[in-house]
Amino acid sequence: MARLSLRHLSKRFGTHAAVHDLTLDVADGELMCLLGPSGCGKTTTLRMIGGFAAPDAGDIQINGRSVVALPPERRPTAMVFQRYNLWPHMTAAQNIAFGLRLRRLPRGQIEAKVRDALGLVGLPGAGHKYPHQLSGGEQQRVAVARALVLEPQILLLDEPFSNLDARLRVHMREEVKQLQRAVGITTVFVTHDQEEALTIADRIAVMKDGVLQQVDTPAALYARPRTLFVADFIGTMNLLPARIEAGAVAAGPWRLPAAGGLRPHGGEATLAVRPEDLVLDPAGAPVRVRRVVNLGHYLQVLLECPGVAPLRMFTEKGASLEEGQGVRVRISRALLFSGPDVAELGGPMRPPVAAPAEAP
């Protein structure tokens, strides 16, 4: 059972700060996703935990014990890479057994553990196959088995499914989630795919330009992003330029009452509205329907509003909307980003609606 703790971790490549002053705690048995666009430092962070990159500053502790000075082979971590995981000159079974042989386990025990590990990842008959005889998904499963067979304290996954096709990727992440729950292993999972992070993570750490933006559960991250970047990055979000006036916020055709305490930061502010928080309401502001996309159980509507870029709205399938039609729309809930401040406007927080991560 293991807790992982990153303390003020920093890493520079030349003049570029890959990771800057990152502090993060991962609880025992938790699945933590490091999420961010490419180049945000998430993989560098993972490699520092695994021992493949040395931090310039800060500390990495597992169960309170610093592991920064240890080489990868002496850390209680196991890594699954994005690709090129398996040694091509060994069979799947030999790949899995390699670490066990280094630990000089008796032969019978190694064979039993290898068999169990292959069974665990659903490939009981694949032990004698070489990596090139396995599909991409099977190779990644063997890599997971090889990592788990050593009973590490921390499992590290570096975008392990990003090279698989979409359907298999969805299937594999469900499997990994189940496996991780069953084994109860503390896991750090790196991904740039927010949908992947939202579906499997217990908590998500969003990174940008080497800086940790926010650490929260998927639901909280979706409902209460603390920076504009997170608001825009997680799920679908409409961003409107806004002005803070006396007791109210003006954005496009809307004026939202603000419950005091709003400080204008040079007048510049951004209103962030989820598509499902745009509601058809006779008392709302007049807008025009530009496009209606039927996404099965709900409609995605592109709205043309005076003074702002087109907005996306999710609405019930029953609503009869036609392109070109004028409608009235109200903002039921929004977040106002003004400098470093965030304010919640409107009604109570709604839980994330189905399909928060709409297809790009």
Binding site: P71, E73, F81, W87, F98, R103
Partner: protein
């Protein structure tokens, strides 16, 4: 499917293709075949299409003390040079492939320098050096001059091979508990083996084939087969040269037969990738 077009374009084009193939085969294999015929020829007079079979030139060549001495010399010095070269170059190649150090590019290019200039000048200046070191007309001197010929192959091919091996494979080995040395010997080296074998083959041939430098450094007592060849071609009957040529090609033939087992091994041919 992919060769469907070939059968669709009719007989004439196929005939032309076949003809071109046969011409190429004759061009490549013809001289070798002639060599073999000559090597086993007793007498080969005008009206006969094929010579009469005989091993007398083999007996003649192998019975000549100077020749057998050169053969022994070649089969000792070329493997020694190849091994010495491998011991020096393979770790260096690994460093070139994996480490960033100042002067890396310049050093890598410097291995080209031995092959970038007319060798004879290089050999003469090396000979003056070996003379001072009392290495002229010694086995060690011959091996050293042959090593120079192998450097290019033993550095450049393994460097490319090592660079082609994804670092993840090595890191994965470290991750499951292997130290740097064990990782190299149990993961990197086996994966690099096909490339290293090719390098060894080229290096061996370069050493085995070396005549200019050996002639300068090794005469009169340390003569190898290629050096001997000059004498044989000039002052012996033609079949002797042919026999000797066949002997010269034997090691590479054996080496290729051994190597192809590894070169064809499944994991190489199947292009392992995700």
């Amino acid at each position: 499917m992919s060769v469907g077009w070939y059968w669709a374009v009719g007989g004439l084009r196929r005939a032309v293709a076949l003809g071109a193939f046969l011409a190429l085969a004759a061009f490549i294999l013809g001289p070798l075949l002639t060599l073999l015929l000559w090597a086993f020829a007793g007498s080969w007079l005008f009206p006969n299409l094929l010579p009469e079979f005989s091993l007398k030139w083999w007996a003649y060549v192998l019975g000549n003390a100077d020749v057998t001495k050169a053969i022994r010399m070649s089969f000792l010095s070329a493997p020694a040079a190849t091994l010495l070269s491998a011991v020096i170059c393979i770790p260096a190649a690994y460093a070139f492939a994996r480490l960033e150090f100042p002067g890396r590019r310049v050093l890598l290019l410097s291995f080209l320098s031995a092959n970038a200039f007319p060798k004879i000048g290089l050999y003469v200046s090396i000979a003056t050096l070996l003379y001072r070191l009392n290495l002229m007309d010694t086995f060690a001197g011959v091996v050293l001059i042959q090593v120079i010929n192998t450097l290019l192959f033993m550095i450049w091919i393994p460097t490319g091979t090592f660079r082609g091996i994804n670092r993840n494979l090595e890191e994965a080995a470290r991750d499951v508990g292997a130290g740097p040395l064990r990782t190299f010997f149990q993961v990197t080296l086996p994966i690099a083996l096909p490339g290293l074998l090719v390098a060894l083959l080229f290096a061996f041939l370069a050493a085995f084939d070396e005549a200019q430098g050996t002639l300068i450094v090794g005469t009169p007592n340390h003569i190898t087969m290629p050096v001997m060849m000059y004498t044989l071609v000039l002052s012996y009957p033609q079949p002797v040269g042919a026999v000797f040529s066949v002997l010269l090609s034997l090691p590479s033939l054996v080496f290729l037969l051994v190597a192809q087992r590894y070169l064809r091994a499944g994991y190489l041919a199947a292009g392992y990738s995700l």
